[in-house]
């Protein structure tokens, strides 16, 4: 088991003929993902590494029964691409694109509300279910099928954590990058609920950062609903207020959204908070060892 995606997931890559789209579609396919279609308007009939290209997502769905979309469309057109996927009946939309205007995402999020479609991202590395399917830009080789679910607002910091889990022999079930933007499709709470229900996931690592209060809200939810051990890390304890740290969403505003605050909320909810990012793996190992009484 895993969450959201597995061997049976059928993927369409929007923006497949672009430099990033073609590179990562090929990488995903090589990992074992069923990449069954690509979309670039005006390029129907072409192929990318044996993957057929269609003009519209609607055509791709009709011809290939794809159910999940991976988006590499540039920022000015990405909102349109997300809505196109949703309208074509795609159930899971994973948007990698970084730099989409916030007000575009405000409209997209409102338009998706109440519909049977889930958006992951934007500005995220994607989703991977170890040894089954990779739908994103993460390096596949650092992942190994195992016991830990990962939820993160970051890209390379997630790879850091995953690498520690794999090296220690713990392995992962599914790793989800939820994105570094202020407005994202899916937050911690939905994913924590899925990991709680997944029989293979024994613990969850959640990686947060400064900005907003998503981690605080997740903490309140964990306290009431999550029985499995959750190990949390918050990046940016040294970040100054009022400055955007790379991610559009990583900014302390009005003294709110600091790492210290978030760590305190998580700790109060029973989450095991790691202060040193080099010790995420070790902390999970300790939490899962039979002698540990967490």
């Amino acid at each position: 088991m895993s969450i959201l995606v597995n061997k049976a997931t059928r993927v369409v890559v929007q923006g497949i003929t672009g430099k990033e789209g073609s590179f990562h579609a090929t990488q995903c396919k090589a990992y074992g993902t069923q990449v069954v279609a690509g979309v670039t308007p005006g390029k129907a009939g072409q192929e990318v590494e044996g993957i057929p290209v269609f003009n519209t997502v609607r055509d791709a769905v009709k011809k290939t029964q794809c159910d999940t979309s991976l988006i590499f469309v540039p920022p000015p057109f990405a909102a349109d691409a997300i809505l196109e996927a949703a309208d074509a009946g795609i159930r899971l939309v994973i948007c990698i694109t970084e730099g989409i205007p916030v007000n575009d995402m405000v409209k997209v999020k409102r338009a998706l509300h109440g519909r049977d479609v889930r958006l992951i991202g934007p500005n995220c590395p994607g989703i991977i279910t170890a040894d089954e399917c990779k739908i994103g830009i993460m390096p596949g080789f650092i992942h190994k099928k195992g016991r830990v679910g990962v939820i993160s607002r970051s890209g390379t910091l997630t790879y850091e954590a995953v690498n520690q889990l794999t090296t220690l022999g713990l392995g992962e079930t599914t790793c989800v990058g939820i994105g570094g933007d202020p407005i994202i499709g899916t937050g911690y709470i939905d994913l924590l609920t899925m990991f709680e229900k997944d029989p293979e996931t024994e613990a969850v690592v959640m990686i947060g950062e400064i900005g907003g209060d998503a981690e605080d809200r997740a903490a309140a939810y964990i306290k009431r609903n999550i029985r499995k051990p959750v190990i949390g890390f918050i990046a940016g304890i040294t970040a100054p207020p009022g400055r955007r740290m790379g991610h559009a969403g990583a900014i302390i505003t009005g003294g709110k959204g600091t790492a210290v605050e978030k760590m305190a909320s998580l700790a109060a909810a029973g989450v095991i908070v790691v202060r040193n990012p080099a010790e995420i793996g070790k902390t999970v190992q300790a939490a899962l060892s039979p002698r540990c009484t967490v």
Binding site: A214, G246, P277
Partner: protein, 398 residues
């Protein structure tokens, strides 16, 4: 991106949000001419810098005497203002806003931003204008009104009524109701059309002659949407930005200058923050945030090096790369090339992990460069802190 108060007020005027009659002024002579033309009972001379707290720092002067205006302008222009938001170095005043003063009957607070949780635009208002909203929220949370706007339909009359009645406007000044609600709609239009990330009017005042006026104005824009608005881009004032940060932006690097002395270069924003944190845990302070991005090349690494070395506080450099799409051997080549180009005398620790990490480490070790190579994050952080710590002690002894 932030803009000056005078620019925010120009935008307000353009969108039908009432502002005092005022003008951007750069010389005492221009101040004299403008004051003559303005011919107001009260003149307000305001320093224009991208930081709050100007009033307390002496950056706002008020006079009833027109003849004093040029003198006040001379006093402020070229002065360095230090406020709680500028840092100890302060900001040099290069321009002023000179406007007519208003008789204040009541000060309100109003702002508009996007609520991250719901994803809806949100008006925040309070009767306690003039105070910082965080202050009001902390001490009198019941005085903070929140009105979310459904982005599917935009600002509606009822949103305006909720706020107007919530603020008790009919009791304060009934004739202001209509203009207030119209102004809210105009602000919403400005916010969405120009892709603002925040609009704040503090204070929004009701004048003694029963007008509604935005006495201050702050607007910031979504950097991701600047490509849509040439007019907004034209308002950027490079004087208000850190020179090294401007250089970084032109090289497609994401850099924020900090006060510590270990320069760091990392791929990915989250890992870059975590690297700063780990430097602190190891006993030192980071000199910067620098994300070379997912597509780091030899050229970006070299550009990153140049920027780090221009910061005089930097005593050592920590490069932390987790190769995913970025291949570590390319980063290693970048470090080697940069070292040839810019003579690096400081200690450097390079930690490579992920795609082709071993190849990258081998390249560095065989390059003859004096760089320390590491695999583990914690080990690498301790190494660079130890190396720079020693340096500092030596300097202190000498």
């Amino acid at each position: 991106m932030n803009i000056h108060e005078f620019q925010a007020k120009q935008l307000f005027a353009q969108f039908g949000v009432p502002v005092p009659n005022g003008k951007e002024i750069k010389t005492p002579l221009a101040a004299e001419k403008w004051a003559e033309k303005l011919n107001a009972p009260v003149y307000v001379v305001k320093a224009q810098i991208h930081a709050g707290g100007r009033g307390k720092a002496g950056g706002v002067k008020i006079t009833k005497n027109r003849a004093e205006v040029p003198g006040l302008a001379r006093e402020l222009l070229g002065k360095t203002l230090v406020t709680h938001q500028t840092g100890p170095k302060g900001r040099k005043v290069r321009r002023l806003l000179i406007e007519e003063g208003a008789g204040i009957a009541k000060e309100l607070y109003l702002s508009l931003l996007v609520d991250r949780d719901s994803g809806w635009p949100l008006f925040i208002a309070s009767t306690e204008g003039g105070m910082e909203i965080e202050e009001i929220a902390a001490h009198q949370p019941e005085k903070v009104l929140r009105e979310p706007i459904d982005p599917a339909v935009g600002f509606q009359g009822y949103n305006g009524r909720n706020l107007a009645f919530g603020l008790g406007l009919p009791g304060l000044e009934p004739t202001i109701m209509g203009p207030f609600i119209t102004m809210l709609g105009n602000l919403y239009r400005l916010f969405m059309e120009k892709h603002a990330s925040m609009v704040e009017i503090n204070p929004l005042v009701i004048t003694t002659d029963k007008r509604l006026v935005a006495l201050d104005g702050k607007v910031s824009f979504d950097d991701n949407a600047l490509f849509k608005h040439a007019d907004v881009q034209a308002m950027r004032d490079l004087h208000e930005e850190e020179p090294l940060e401007i250089e970084a932006t032109t090289n497609n690097l994401n850099y924020v200058k900090l006060d510590g002395n270990i320069g760091c270069m990392v791929n990915g924003a989250g890992l870059a923050m975590a690297t700063m944190d780990v430097i602190k845990l190891a006993g030192s302070e980071p000199a910067n945030f620098l994300d070379v991005g997912g597509g780091a090349t030899k050229e970006t690494v070299a550009a990153g090096f140049r920027i780090l070395l221009k910061d005089r506080n930097v005593k050592g450099i920590f490069i932390n790369i987790f190769g995913g799409i970025v291949r570590c051997e390319r980063i290693a080549h970048g470090v080697i090339d940069a070292a040839k180009e810019v003579d690096i005398k400081l200690p450097v620790v390079v930690r490579l992990q992920g795609t082709n990490a071993e190849e990258g480490r081998k390249l560095l070790l065989e390059s003859g460069l004096k760089v320390d190579v590491a695999t583990d994050l914690w080990e690498a952080a301790q190494k660079i802190v130890a190396l720079t710590g020693k340096k500092r002690k030596k300097a202190a002894a000498a």
